[in-house]
Subunit: 212 residues, 2 copies
DNA sequence: AGAAAATTTGACCGATCGGTCGAACCTGTC
DNA sequence: GACAGGTTCGACCGATCGGTCAAATTTTCT
């Protein structure tokens, strides 16, 4: 499928996935939304999962381009610089593409979201973060008492809450900043980065100011 | 409805809610599971939401009893003692009642879970935590730059990841500890408490060991 | 015992679900 | 113009959804 029809279908799919979540999304509704006929859509995509994978594939590629190439850090200081750069790019990507962000939120509803047919997509989007966290643990920038995947899940889930609560708190929905766009986004990036640093820092680097 | 029938229905409902999540749970399936006839169940509960509320009400009451009464802290030091006691009781409750925990997880899938008909339930279960966080912000034990509800959402979501990942990582599911039950649970409690302390501590108390 | 009320039953309803399929329709080739 | 292959269409399928209802059954009251 190509051209305008494909675009219409993709948009309908993304809206449905974003509104109702991936699990509750109805393939029939997507087809109806797109204005295409049932036979046509089924001719190209056997089922909802097949369509979902295509949608994700597209988001995935854009995401990859937005993140670009980042080298792995070699020291503790470098680690947080790299992490900051990574966080910035990720957040900018989702703020600038709110619809895609909402689609992914519909996917994130379950904590362990690497089930079956989504595994490949999961791998592609988190590969760099996997490596970054592993390297962080090697050089002592990231606590070693949690499995790397758990560290990653913590980062994701915290970011998700901040998106839902803070962006919502400013009277915006879906990550759009109506006024002072750049300034607020910077502040938001710092919030995410700060939280993940709090969570990831090894016990021994934090002990100086704790009393238990 | 009373007696054995009620019990059967409640168990069927909890299992369905836990397995498929509250949104995807099917009222018809619950009725089928319970072995009761359709008319009977509809005679007492108009719809799925009505049944859900009753289930939650029961969990809610047990939860309240498990938590009991805790006084609000008056100093920073007291705050973390109270928080520790609260966390311990919450975690013990869910470890000892894994099914109820899974039902609530099915409810927690969306971050802002205080939608409409669940509001009353939400209020009842989080009232103490609301007060605790508010007091914490007053006495400077908890950061003031996030709205109290966001602080609470962060705590919930982090605890959820730890439950899913760590309990799962130890080869257990649903919060059951096969061996060394008490010891592991203590360790788990500490993990949760430590993470929430990292997240909640005000900026100025943490600044001594940060470099950005 | 018998009337009245409460409870139980499963057949039934329309809507929607994911999915199939034969007929019609283009579009290029010989 | 005949043919073939790729494409489009919407009627149709069985399953399941949430929900209704008249009739049968049990319980309660007089």
């Amino acid at each position: 499928m190509d051209g305008a029809k494909r675009t219409r279908l993709m948009e309908a799919a993304m809206e449905e996935f974003a509104e109702r979540g991936v699990e509750l999304a109805s393939y029939n509704k997507i087809i109806e939304r797109s204005g295409l006929s049932k036979g046509t859509v089924y001719y190209y995509f056997d089922n909802k999962d097949s369509l979902l994978l295509t949608v994700l594939d597209e988001i995935c590629e854009r995401f990859g381009n937005a993140i670009g190439n980042l080298g792995l850090p070699k020291t503790k200081e470098e680690y947080w610089e790299t992490a900051w750069e990574y966080h910035s790019r990720v957040i900018r990507f989702f703020v600038e593409n709110p619809l895609w962000g909402r689609v992914l939120f519909g996917l994130f509803k379950d904590v362990p979201w690497s089930e079956g047919y989504l595994e490949a997509f999961h791998d592609r989007t988190t590969r760099f973060l996997d490596d970054l966290i592993a390297r962080g643990q090697e050089i002592g920038a990231v606590r070693g008492d949690f499995p790397p995947k758990t560290v990653q899940h913590l980062m994701h889930t915290v970011a998700k809450v901040l998106c839902a609560d803070i962006l919502g708190h400013y009277g915006l929905s879906g990550g759009e900043f109506p006024d002072g766009k750049q300034a607020n986004m910077e502040k938001f990036m710092f919030m995410i980065h700060d939280l993940s640093r709090r969570i990831l820092t090894p016990e021994e680097d934090l002990i100086c100011c704790r009393h238990f």
